[in-house]
Symmetry: C2
Subunit: 296 residues, 2 copies
């Protein structure tokens, strides 16, 4: 039977979104200003369109004004940059998000780096990452959404980080690497596992806290987990399932059935980290608007 606490990301995300909505209405009352988020979508990938629609809905529910630029698949880099430049200059836009992946003929880095760092609510600008890595210096303007959501879940569930052994599985620019930096900032002792790691199971088993972001369905077995460890499963992986109406189901990186009997707390997939990412995007947009308008 399940003995672990189920970390309910969906309900925490809802709570955070409510908090944000009430902050925004306070801001609107006091200053007349609402935060604005611009999303740039290039091409017609269905999954990207869904993500963008969900972000828009979440913005509206929270009171954030959303702006959208939809460009055809065969747009040029210059056309995308033109929209970014306009949003950069538009004072009612406090955050700019470029939906990834971009079409193959575009240089992702060129386009992402064109977003003004003050509006880079994704927190992916290298200057932001540098600040995240450095201590005693200027703070990053924004913390990347998914890793920020992972840490927020730990906080809201009262899970101590300081002095704990933390193992991050995966080292991507958008999840694993910034998650490791955030855990270290909170004084965890961090180890990072990746595809070249020889004995991942042995290392993972030392962790008090595991954050997994590999995209490998069910890779983290029960035997990888120290009894009582806390598991944050970032993975969202489709696996074939003829029994499901869609023909597939979504699973995490962690073998949930085994883990939930060994861990002390675990995020389910879906309903764990996933909903937190959008909540953190709204949070970063609000932070940006507050900063520009000196609203506390």
């Amino acid at each position: 039977e399940t003995t672990a606490t189920i970390i309910d990301g969906k309900s925490v995300a809802k709570q955070i979104k409510d908090e944000i909505a009430s902050e925004i209405s306070r801001m609107k009352e006091t200053t007349g200003i609402v935060p604005g988020l611009a999303v740039i979508l290039v091409g017609d990938r269905k999954d990207s369109a869904t993500y963008v629609r969900n972000k828009k809905k979440a913005c509206e529910a929270a009171g954030i004004k959303s702006y959208e630029a939809k460009l055809p698949e065969d747009s040029t880099e210059e056309e995308v940059l033109k929209f970014i430049s306009e949003f950069n200059d538009d004072p009612s836009v406090h955050g700019i998000l470029v939906q990834l992946p971009l079409p193959r003929h575009m240089n992702e880095e060129t386009i992402l780096n064109a977003v003004r760092i003050e509006k880079d609510v994704d927190g992916f600008h290298p200057l932001n990452i540098g600040r995240l890595a450095m201590r005693g210096r200027q703070e990053p303007l924004f913390v990347p959404c998914t890793p920020k959501g992972c840490i927020e879940l730990l906080h809201r569930y009262g899970i101590d980080i300081k002095g704990k052994r933390a193992v991050v599985i995966g080292r991507s620019n958008i999840v694993g690497m910034p998650a490791a930096l955030l855990l270290q900032r909170e004084d965890a002792t961090v180890s990072i596992i990746h595809s070249r790691t020889k004995n991942p199971e042995e290392i993972a088993r030392q962790a008090d806290i595991i954050i997994s972001a590999t995209g490998q369905p069910n890779m983290v077995k029960g035997s990888w987990i120290k009894p009582g460890a806390v598991i944050i499963d970032v993975g969202i992986n489709p696996v074939d399932d003829p029994a499901s109406p869609r023909g597939y189901q979504l699973v995490g990186d962690v073998c949930y059935e085994e883990a939930c009997k060994i861990a002390s707390a675990i995020t389910p997939v879906p309903g764990g980290v996933g909903p937190m990412t959008i909540a953190m995007l709204l949070s970063n947009t609000l932070i940006s608007a507050k900063r520009v308008h000196n609203f506390e």
Copy 2:
């Protein structure tokens, strides 16, 4: 008895400086240009003056033109910034180095960030650190000297990094943190120990490679070391020694007497990492000059 290979940083540094000198004479012959390094020294700390003198000497020996700005202890931040701005604009200066520590009344970050990133041969600019942390993006313009020197020693001694367990002890902006990022870039599996780590000995003992930069004399005992591990000891720590004419001697973070019987290779202190730092500074200055003048 010592069974470990002694990693002779002094001799590797000499070899590198010779390589740099011959590159520079080739550059001079072909283009008429020599690299230039500017050092800014504020105040009259004896140790800082010594470091600056040594850097100058090393520059001259390698054929790098050195520039110096010496300012009194009670200078203002603006005065320092004025010198930085002049060096930023001077095309014969390819690297700018601000000798630390600065007087207390100055904001170190403001001053360091004023150095143009193209001339930040120390590699401490947050944008550089961000690029070091990110994968598949623009490379950092410069890699911080001391950690670069550590990795260079591993390379020159033919020590494999890929897939190895590496433990970095210390997480400072100038040594530990970038050293961990560099090891990870070379596909080591990295764990980072700091002052809040609860069981450093147990973690260190899993390492194939240890890089220690804590400033704690003789902290890393023999019992911390797995037989056959490679030890890079960055620490340079004065400890009282009435028998020495200076009244003190310099020791590393690692208890050398114990470690040299257990490790397969180890850097001595002094004569290990220390000499590599200046060699890497010259290397970064040459890289900068080559980049500006498109010289390969």
